[in-house]
């Protein structure tokens, strides 16, 4: 009976995801880290859930952003919350920093990949501890690295080129938010699974905060958009 509630003895494999989140984008800035993600949970091609929180605090120093299967992300959060709890129970003044959490996530993802039963997620882990800024990513097969700017999913193709051109060290909070919003707007235009409701997370030495959900304005008033097939009727 107990096997039904939690068993890994049968050889099983996750074949495909059901409820999925799309891109997460993250950058380092002057005071710390900024992450952005929308609140969509897609069910195949249907934009089914529109208030899914894909950015979550991890302990005092880190925030995780997840794309991919939401049920697997919920399971990852249960593991992380337990990890932080046991860390706190030592009550020794030490606390797990972003580097350690990133490493734990990497092991979790890679070991599942080795058993052909991956957690179907791409994760971004950002944090600040003792003045050190940290921004890393882990994929569902355990590929992991740190960088000044990272993205998952469509964000790899649409956001990272923008970040490569416009990111620079020691950006202000305002510059950072504007850059992330530029990325999120492009994703909104070009990613079918994006929804116009997003959150931005900020991590600094002082602490971690996640904004209330908000929506971005979009621009459609290009003259070329008004009558695009004027010169070639029947085209699109």
């Amino acid at each position: 009976m107990i096997n039904l509630i939690g068993s890994e003895s049968d050889s099983q494999r996750t074949l495909y995801p059901y409820v999925t989140g799309t891109s997460v984008v993250g950058i380092k800035y002057k005071d710390g880290i900024l992450l952005a993600a929308d609140m969509g949970g897609s069910y195949g091609s249907t934009l089914r859930y529109k208030t899914v929180e894909r950015l979550k605090k991890v302990g005092k120093h880190s925030i995780i952003g997840a794309s991919g299967e939401i049920s697997d992300f919920q399971e990852i959060m249960r593991n992380l919350d337990e990890l932080i709890l046991y860390d706190n129970m030592w009550d020794d003044g030490n606390s797990l920093g972003p580097k350690e959490v990133h490493n734990y996530l990497t092991r979790m993802m890679y070991n599942r990949r080795n058993k052909f039963n991956p957690l179907w997620n791409s994760l971004v882990l950002g944090g600040v501890k003792n003045g050190q800024k940290y921004l890393g990513t882990v994929s569902m097969i355990g590929v992991h690295y740190e960088d000044n700017h990272v993205a998952t999913g469509f964000g790899n193709h649409l956001a990272r080129p923008l970040l490569r051109n416009e990111w620079h060290a020691d950006m202000t909070f305002e510059e950072g938010v504007k850059l992330l919003e530029k990325c999120m707007r492009v994703l909104l235009y070009r990613d079918r699974s994006a929804v116009n409701k997003l959150q931005i997370a900020k991590i600094t030495e002082e602490g971690v905060t996640i904004t209330q959900p908000y929506a971005l304005k979009t621009f459609w008033n290009f003259s070329a958009f008004l009558n695009p097939t004027a010169g070639a009727e029947g085209s699109w």
């Binding site: 039904l4 059901y18 091609s45 919920q74 994929s139 590929v143 998952t152």
Partner: protein, 236 residues
Amino acid sequence: MDMSSGDLNAPHSMGTTIIGVTYNGGVVLGADSRTSTGMYVANRASDKITQLTDNVYICRSGSAADSQIVSDYVRYFLHQHTIQLGQPSTVKVAANLVRLLSYNNKNSLQTGLIVGGWDKYEGGKIYGIPLGGTVLELPFTIGGSGSSYLYGFFDQVWKEGMTQEEAEKLVVKAVSLAIARDGASGGVVRTVTIDKDGATRKFYPSETLPLWHEELEPQESLLDILSAASPEPMMS
């Protein structure tokens, strides 16, 4: 890098329309009554709203066998939990038990579920548990194949803080609309309303439901129409 399985593996749910809605003081659960095997209607008066405890019910969709076995196990566990706890279980605990079964057996099960109930700590709560085992606490949620036809409807009419009467009317109207367009949904509309005083079951046969586009008033026989009408009763 990320892997995506594309639209080839988009999930599909089989027959049913199920709905769960919160209102000011409790929840209303609704469902149709059709169980089909392929094109044949195996049961035209099924009860898809199943009791888990006195104060928590579950709406079942997808595979009848899978949803029945999951709810049977959860009922069994909740029964023991109630005895050990010494008071009624919370809705959250019920939802989490469903999650454990759905998530850990995600490769074998094909059932989307809605858990709804009332407890003294949180009041009326609805939890959506789609394929894969994601759990989302929501003000309302819809499921089953018939739900495809209701996303636009709910986007337009949903509002927070409805009265019990408004909520029940909304659920009945919605299931009735889905039945009109989804071949896998049909029969009668069943609702269960749960508040601090317990659960009340209601039954709405088709005569009590409104007629939608291109639906005609049911008649006893053509003969009645002929005798009732005066000149030119037959169309030439």
